[in-house]
């Protein structure tokens, strides 16, 4: 029964995506929505991304310094480890998990409300492909914006780490040396590739939950929660495969 449900849901999701992935009927409307969605889903998330990244960058730096304090460890280890954590996992995967909560619930509740207030029916009756009209700009906007948010997150994580130098946790020179030590540029590309996949998961899965809402406001709330849970679980699974694939 559980397996049947999963297969049915996955089939419904693929059918929806088939409708979504069609060329926009009016490019001018698509571009207008695309820009609006980039602002609503991406630009409006910059504040929270910068705030979290700054503090997590600082906390990672302090924790590592405290936990590996040993005369046998080189002084740059703290900076090196902070960089690896930020680049490889925090700014791509953990930040996307956080965004799944913020953006995913926003998408699911917005589309769900459109469904229960018959706005989607209105689009269908006008002859508009409602799935493509509503969901495609959201997917494209998030796929565009999340890699940028990941870059911002990495930069602000480093700034947070530097801020700990002001507290006297470590010296700026040690931190800089650690951040530059054995740097592999591919890690940044891996982060961006991962974030693009996660952006697609967040936007499409949340849209699926919102688009299929039936009933009233209670079900909109439920769809919103389901969207966050499903997106988060799928991001975690995808993270395992992508980490293995890209490393």
């Amino acid at each position: 029964m559980f397996l049947t449900n999963i297969i049915t849901t996955f089939g419904d999701y693929l059918c929806l995506m088939k409708r979504v992935m069609s060329l926009p009927e009016r490019w001018r409307m698509f571009l207008k929505q695309y820009i609006q969605e980039m602002a609503a889903l991406g630009v409006d998330s910059i504040g929270i991304v910068l705030l979290i990244s700054f503090f997590i960058g600082a906390v990672i730096c302090i924790q590592i310094k405290l936990n590996i304090a040993s005369p046998w460890m080189p002084a740059f280890t703290t900076g090196y480890t902070t960089r690896e954590i930020l680049l490889l996992e925090f700014s791509s995967s953990i930040m996307c998990l956080i965004l799944a909560g913020k953006v995913g619930s926003n998408i699911a509740s917005e589309i769900g409300t459109m469904r229960v207030t018959q706005q989607i029916d209105a689009l269908e009756i006008m002859g508009v492909n409602s799935a493509s009209f509503i969901i495609l700009p959201k997917i494209m906007a998030l796929v565009t914006m999340i890699p940028m948010l990941v870059i911002f997150s990495i930069v602000f994580g480093f700034i947070g780490a530097y801020a700990t130098a002001l507290l006297g946790v470590l010296t700026v020179d040690d931190l800089t040396l650690g951040l530059q030590h054995d740097f592999n540029q591919w890690y940044i590309w891996a982060s961006i590739i991962k974030s693009i996949v996660f952006a697609f998961i967040i936007s499409s899965v949340s849209s699926y939950h919102g688009y299929n809402v039936e009933g009233g406001s209670f079900n909109v709330g439920k769809a919103s929660t389901d969207a966050v849970v499903s997106s988060s679980v799928l991001i975690l699974f995808a993270d395992i495969f992508l980490t293995q694939l890209l490393s």
Binding site: R26, T117, Q119, D121, E124, I125, M126, G127
Partner: protein, 251 residues
Amino acid sequence: MIELQDLHKSFGDREVLKGISATFENGRTNLIIGQSGSGKTVLMKNIVGLFTPDSGKILYDGRNFVNMTSKERVMLRREMGMIFQSAALFDSMSVLENVMFPLDMFSDDNRTDRIKRAKFCLERVNLTGAEDKFPGEISGGMQKRVAIARAIALNPKYLFCDEPNSGLDPKTSLVIDELIHGITEEYDMTTIINTHDMNSVMGIGEHIIYLYEGRLEWTGTKDEVMSTTNERLTSFIFASDLLRKVKDMNQ
């Protein structure tokens, strides 16, 4: 003209529409009435294509909507306008943007002409000065008028209204009814209204079909309603104490 031929629709074991056949003429205000659960909304959703009937035909000026390809359906839908019970305005758009939406999607006119047309439609429903407001900032009656303006923006041949007076006071309901009726005559549209508002029945019911438990029970005009001998229709129409008294006074 829209013709329904032997329309059936079931959900699981429950048959909601049991072979409905009816004809809705151009330039007339056609009303579908019936108790809650009689199948009015399901019938309307079948007619506009939100549901697919199990069997039967829906003919739009001879074109069978049921057998159409999805492309043909999309083309036909551009000839339709619909006013929903909840108005279904796009709440992220202003009043003017809502009315312009069908024009933005399907019209090749330039932006100036599209704005001009949208403003004309808003004037037609007596709603000037509210262009920049958002749906959440205007009353229910105004929302319905915006929905009417949006529905007529592309000069549709067919207009569908699902409980257009739901949640409105009697005076505003009258305004909405007269507006729909006036537009129907002016543009020679085929208008179908789904309602259980007796004021609408008596006011604009040029052609009425009464559904009872998924079957077509009675067909007639607003004048024939008052003198009907159909017991089910009588008990439905004269459930209101006020209407019973009016009938008694007329007699």
